[in-house]
C-alpha cells in the first residue's frame, strides 16, 4: 500500500490551488505604486565598436524619465563570474569585464546598449527607437575553432586571445592515458556536437526594483532560483550595496532549469536606476528578448576516444572538448565544462585512466551557462555514445559491454577526483530492461516494418553528481562561494511550524514535500508545517536551488534544524514530566518517558516554550526556534538506465519516439509523485535536445532561432507517455535523508538513448550510419540514410 502521509507519500501539492485558480504571484504580477518601466535597446550586430549613442531624441520623447547608457555605469562594478578555473599550466582563466550596459564594444546580438526608463512600457519602447546608434561593425567570431586561430577577431581586445582557459584533467594522467591508448586492443573514436540550447522556462525573466530613500534600502523582486546569491553578487560586486540594505525576493517563479540561477545585468540595472530616479523600476522580458539575453546552455564540440582490451574492458578514455562561453562569463559558466563535466567522465564504469581536455572559448554569442544537468548531460552523451559505437565495432551487445565494465563495489574512487558512495547499476539496468519489454522488441519491429517504418532500440546508463557541494572541495576547485544550505525551523506557541529554507521552489513543490519530512520527524500532520522561501528578509541565508540540491542539501539543513528543535523540546518535556532528557522519546506528536505512562503532547511543550511558567529557565532560554547550516560531505550520485524505442520513417527521415523507459536510483524518495514529475520534465527536455531543439547562429553571429517560430520546443504531440521507475534505491550514505536528487536525471540520461536508438534503426536496415549530430531532424536523418 502506498503511504498516505509523511516520507514516501504523495499528498496533493498545496501550491497547486493558487496556480490553478490564477492566484499565483509571479514577479510580473507585482506592481508598485509609481513604478516606471524600462526597455533595453540591444545590439542587433554580433560585434561592433560603439562610436556614438545619441539619446537626445529619446530623452525628449513623451513619458521618458531618463535614458541610461554604458557611460552611466563607469564607476559601477561589472557582472561577476562565480568560479575561477585554473588552466593546465597553473594559470588563472582569462576573465573579461562584463559591464551592465555595453561600454566601448557590443559583443553579441542582444548585448544591452542603452536603457530607456519611461512612464509606460509603450513609451519606453517607442522612445528606444529614437536612439541613434553609430556602431562600426566588426568581424564576428562564432565558430569556436575559428575563434582560436591566429589573427581571429578578438571578442575582448584586452585579453591575449579568445581562449578563456585550456583545462587538463587530470593533467598528471595525460601520459599514462596516451600509453594505454598505444597498447590498446581496440580504440573507438567519435566526433560529436552537444548543441547549444535555450532553457526556456515558460515565465520570461522580470526584475522590479524599489528604493526607499528614507532608509537607503533597496528591494529587488526577481525571477531567481537563488535570491540570496543575487543579493550577494549584485550587492557586493556590482552596486556596492551592503546586504542589510538590500532585500531580494523571488516570489512564484515560473520554471528556471538553470537559466534563473545567474545574476543578470537587468537586475542590477533596475536596482541602480530605482535608486537614481527614486522610483520603482520594472523590466519584463519579452520572449524574443529572452532568447538573446537569458544564458544559453551546452554548446560543446568534442572528440572522445575509448580504449578497450580484447574482452571489451575499458582501458582508458580521453576527450578533447571545445566549450563555448559566449561573449562574457556568466555566473557559473566556467564550472560547467570543467568540474561539472570532467569529473563525470568515469560514468558508471571502471575505466582506470581518464584524461579530459577542455578549451573554453569566447565568441560573439550570448553567454553560455548551466542548463538542466549542466556539464553532466555533455559527459553522459559522449560516454554513452562512444560505448555504443565501441560495442558495434567489437561485435559485443551494448548491454553486455556496459555490464562488463560496471562499477560494482562501493565506495568507489574514480580516476577523476570523485568518490561514489553507493549505487547498484545492474539493478537499474535490469529494471529498465524489464519495464521496457525488450523481449517484445522484435514483434514491435515487425509491426513497424509492416507500416514501412524502421524501429530501433537504444539504451544508455548515466550517473550524475548532485547536491552540490562540499564547500571546502569546491573552494579548492575555484568556486567563489560556499555551497551549503541553511534552514530555520520556527515552532509557534501553539505547535505549528514554519520552515524558512534557502532552497527555492520554481516548480519543484517544496511547499508540499518539505513538510512531509518534518511531519515524519515529529509525528504531526503535514498541514501544521508551512514553508517560507525566496525572500532574503525572511530566510537567513540560501545558496538556492540548482544541481538537484534542494532536498539533499536544503532538506538536510532543515532536518538538522529540526533535530535541534526536537532536542530542545525533549529537554522541556523532560522538565514537564520530571524525567531525564535522555529518557524522553518523541513519537506520533507526543513526548513520553520510556518505561512509564508519562506523556506530554507536542503542542503542550511548544506552549511551555513560549509561556514558560513551569520551565527550566536556569538551563534553557524560552522559545523554540533553531537554525542550521548544512555543508554536504560529498556529492550525491543518482544513476540509472534509460531505454528508448523509435520509429524512423525512411521516406522522410522523421523520428517518432514510441517508448521511453527510465529506471532511476535516487536513493530514498520523499514524494514519489513529484519525483515522477521531475523525471518526466527532464525526459522531455532531453528528448527535445535529441530530436528538436537547436539554438542556431549564422556565420555573422545573427541569432536565427530567436522565437518559438524557429526554436523547436517539444510539444505534447512530440512525446509519448513515459515509463518511469525509481524503486531501485541505494540511499545516499552521507546525508540524513539518504536522498540523491532527481531534478536533472531525465535531461542527462535521455539524449544518448534516443540517438543510440536511431543509429540502431539505421544499422538494422543496412545503413552503415555510426553517428548523427543532434537534433535528429528529418533532414539530418534522411541525409544520413542516403549514405
Amino acid at each position: 500500500m502506498p503511504k498516505d502521509h509523511g516520507i514516501g507519500a504523495s499528498p496533493k501539492r498545496r501550491e497547486d490551488v493558487r496556480f490553478l485558480t490564477g492566484k499565483g504571484r509571479y514577479t510580473d504580477d507585482i506592481d508598485i505604486h509609481g513604478q516606471a518601466y524600462v526597455h533595453f535597446l540591444r545590439s542587433d550586430v554580433a560585434h561592433g565598436r560603439i562610436k556614438a549613442v545619441d539619446t537626445s531624441a529619446a530623452e525628449a520623447a513623451e513619458g521618458v524619465i531618463r535614458v541610461f547608457t554604458g557611460a552611466d555605469f563607469e564607476g559601477v562594478g561589472g557582472i561577476p563570474c562565480g568560479w575561477q578555473v585554473t588552466d593546465r599550466h597553473g594559470e588563472p582563466m582569462q576573465e573579461p569585464a562584463h559591464p551592465v550596459l555595453a561600454q566601448g564594444k557590443v559583443r553579441h546580438v542582444g548585448d544591452p546598449i542603452a536603457a530607456v526608463v519611461a512612464e509606460t512600457y509603450e513609451q519606453a519602447r517607442d522612445a528606444a527607437e529614437k536612439i541613434v546608434l553609430d556602431i562600426e561593425e566588426l568581424p564576428a567570431v562564432v565558430d569556436m575553432k575559428a575563434a582560436l586561430k591566429d589573427g581571429a577577431p578578438k571578442v575582448h581586445d584586452d585579453l591575449t586571445s579568445n581562449l578563456c582557459f585550456d583545462w587538463g584533467f587530470v593533467e598528471e594522467n595525460k601520459d599514462a592515458v596516451a600509453e594505454a591508448f598505444d597498447k590498446a586492443h581496440h580504440v573507438t573514436t567519435l566526433d560529436l556536437v552537444n548543441q547549444r540550447l535555450v532553457a526556456n522556462p515558460m515565465e520570461p525573466r522580470v526584475a522590479l526594483s524599489d528604493y526607499a530613500a528614507h532608509s537607503d534600502e533597496s528591494t529587488l523582486y526577481t525571477t531567481s532560483q537563488n535570491p540570496h546569491v543575487i543579493r550577494l553578487l549584485m550587492g557586493a560586486f556590482v552596486l556596492g550595496i551592503p546586504e542589510h540594505k538590500l532585500r531580494v525576493v523571488a516570489p512564484d517563479v515560473g520554471g528556471g532549469f538553470g537559466s534563473k540561477i545567474f545574476h543578470y545585468a537587468e537586475e542590477a540595472f533596475c536596482t541602480f536606476a530605482a535608486k537614481q530616479l527614486k522610483r520603482p523600476v520594472k523590466w519584463t522580458s519579452s520572449r524574443s528578448e529572452a532568447f538573446m539575453s537569458d544564458a544559453h546552455g551546452r554548446d560543446h564540440v568534442t572528440t572522445i576516444q575509448l580504449a578497450l582490451d580484447e574482452e571489451g574492458h575499458f582501458q582508458a578514455l580521453r576527450t578533447d572538448t571545445h566549450a563555448n562561453m559566449g561573449a562574457y562569463l556568466s555566473t557559473f559558466s566556467t564550472s560547467v565544462p570543467t568540474w561539472l563535466h570532467g569529473v563525470l567522465m568515469a560514468g558508471n564504469y571502471k575505466t582506470p585512466l581518464i584524461y579530459v581536455n577542455v578549451k573554453a572559448v569566447f565568441t560573439n554569442t550570448v553567454p553560455v551557462d548551466a542548463y538542466r544537468g549542466a556539464g553532466r548531460p555533455e559527459a553522459t552523451y559522449q560516454l554513452e555514445r562512444v560505448i555504443d559505437k565501441a560495442a558495434r565495432e567489437m561485435g559485443i551487445d551494448p548491454v553486455e559491454l556496459r555490464r562488463r565494465n560496471f562499477i560494482t563495489e562501493f565506495p568507489y574512487a574514480t580516476p577523476v577526483a570523485v568518490e561514489y558512495d553507493t549505487g547498484d547499476y545492474n539493478a537499474t539496468l535490469d529494471k529498465a530492461l524489464e519495464i521496457a519489454d525488450v523481449a517484445g522488441f522484435d514483434a514491435r519491429a515487425k509491426a513497424s516494418a509492416d507500416k514501412g517504418l524502421w524501429r530501433g532500440l537504444g539504451m544508455n546508463c548515466y550517473i550524475e553528481a548532485c547536491g552540490i557541494a562540499p564547500s571546502a572541495l569546491v573552494g579548492q576547485l575555484g568556486a567563489r562561494a560556499g555551497l551549503y544550505e541553511s534552514a530555520t525551523v520556527r515552532v509557534n506557541a501553539t505547535g505549528g511550524l514554519v520552515v524558512m529554507t534557502g532552497s527555492h521552489s520554481h516548480g519543484q513543490g517544496h511547499e508540499t514535500s518539505f513538510p512531509q519530512v518534518i511531519a515524519d520527524m515529529i509525528g504531526i500532520d503535514e498541514n501544521m508545517v508551512e514553508i517560507v522561501h525566496g525572500d532574503t528578509a525572511r530566510v537567513p541565508m540560501g545558496m538556492g536551488t540548482y544541481g538537484s540540491r534542494s532536498l539533499a542539501v536544503g532538506g538536510s539543513a532543515m532536518v538538522r534544524a529540526a533535530e535541534k528543535v526536537i532536542a530542545k523540546a525533549k529537554r522541556i518535556a523532560a522538565h514537564l514530566m520530571e524525567a531525564a532528557p535522555e529518557d524522553v522519546e518523541l513519537k506520533d506528536g507526543a513526548f513520553s518517558v520510556a518505561g512509564t505512562d508519562k506523556s506530554v503532547a507536542w503542542g503542550d511543550v511548544c506552549l511551555a516554550a513560549y509561556v514558560p511558567h513551569n520551565y527550566p529557565l536556569e538551563e534553557l532560554e524560552p522559545g523554540l526556534e533553531e537554525t542550521a547550516f548544512y555543508d554536504p560531505a560529498n556529492f550525491t550520485y543518482p544513476a540509472g538506465a534509460y531505454i528508448c524505442e523509435v520509429e524512423v520513417d525512411p521516406e522522410t527521415g522523421k523520428v517518432r519516439v514510441d517508448r521511453f523507459t527510465a529506471a532511476d536510483d535516487f536513493g530514498n524518495v520523499v514524494n514519489p509523485m513529484i519525483v515522477d514529475g521531475q523525471v518526466h520534465g527532464g525526459l522531455a527536455q532531453g528528448i527535445g535536445q535529441a530530436l528538436l531543439e537547436a539554438c542556431a547562429y549564422d556565420e555573422n553571429g545573427q541569432l536565427v532561432s530567436a522565437s518559438y517560430m524557429d526554436y523547436a520546443m517539444p510539444r505534447a504531440d512530440d512525446l509519448p507517455m513515459f515509463q518511469v521507475d525509481h524503486s531501485c534505491q541505494t540511499p545516499c550514505t552521507h546525508n540524513p535523508l539518504g536522498v540523491k536528487g532527481c531534478g536533472e536525471a531525465g535531461a542527462i540520461g535521455s539524449p544518448p538513448a534516443l540517438v543510440n536508438a536511431v543509429i540502431d534503426a539505421m544499422q538494422r536496415n543496412g545503413r552503415d550510419v555510426t553517428h548523427i549530430d543532434m537534433p535528429l531532424s528529418p533532414a539530418r536523418v534522411w541525409t544520413a540514410m542516403q549514405g
Binding site: L20, D28, G677, A684, M713
Partner: protein, 161 residues
Amino acid sequence: MPKISMKVNGKTMSGEAEGRTLLAQFLREELDLTGTHIGCDTSQCGACVVHVDGVAVKSCTMFAAEAEGAEVTTIEGMANEDGSLSVIQQAFQDHHGLQCGFCTPGMVMSAAALLKDNPKPSEAEIRDYLEGNLCRCTGYHNIVKAIMAASGQDVGAIAAE
C-alpha cells in the same frame, strides 16, 4: 484612451486601452486578472488562452478593443461557485499536471475548450489539441493524464504513476 467594457467571469468590467493594447495585456494590467500569463510574443506558447464568447483564444492574438462587449472567461472564473476546484482543475492537482504553474492557466482553458467539443478525447486527440500550449516542466505526461481523468476516463493503466 478609449474605454472598453466586457463581461469577464460573469461581471461587467471596464478599463482603458490604446488601440494596440492586446486582450492579454488588458486583462492583466487594466483588470488585474494576472492569472492570464504571457510567455511569448509570437502567439506560440498558449499561456494566455482565455475563452471569448465560448471560444478558446490566445488573448495575445486579439486586441482588447475587439473584445468590446464580449463574454470573457479567464482562469479566475474557472473554479466552482463555492470556490472549490472545478473537475478539470481538480484533475490537474490530482495527477500532478502542473509544476511551476506558469503555463497552467492556458492549459486549463484549452482543456476546458477541448472537453466541451470532445467529451471523451483519446490520448492522441489531447496531444494534438494541446499543440498550441507549451509546457517546459511536465513533459505533458501528467497534463494528458489529467485531461483524460477529467473526461471521466480510467487512467489507472497509464504508466508511471
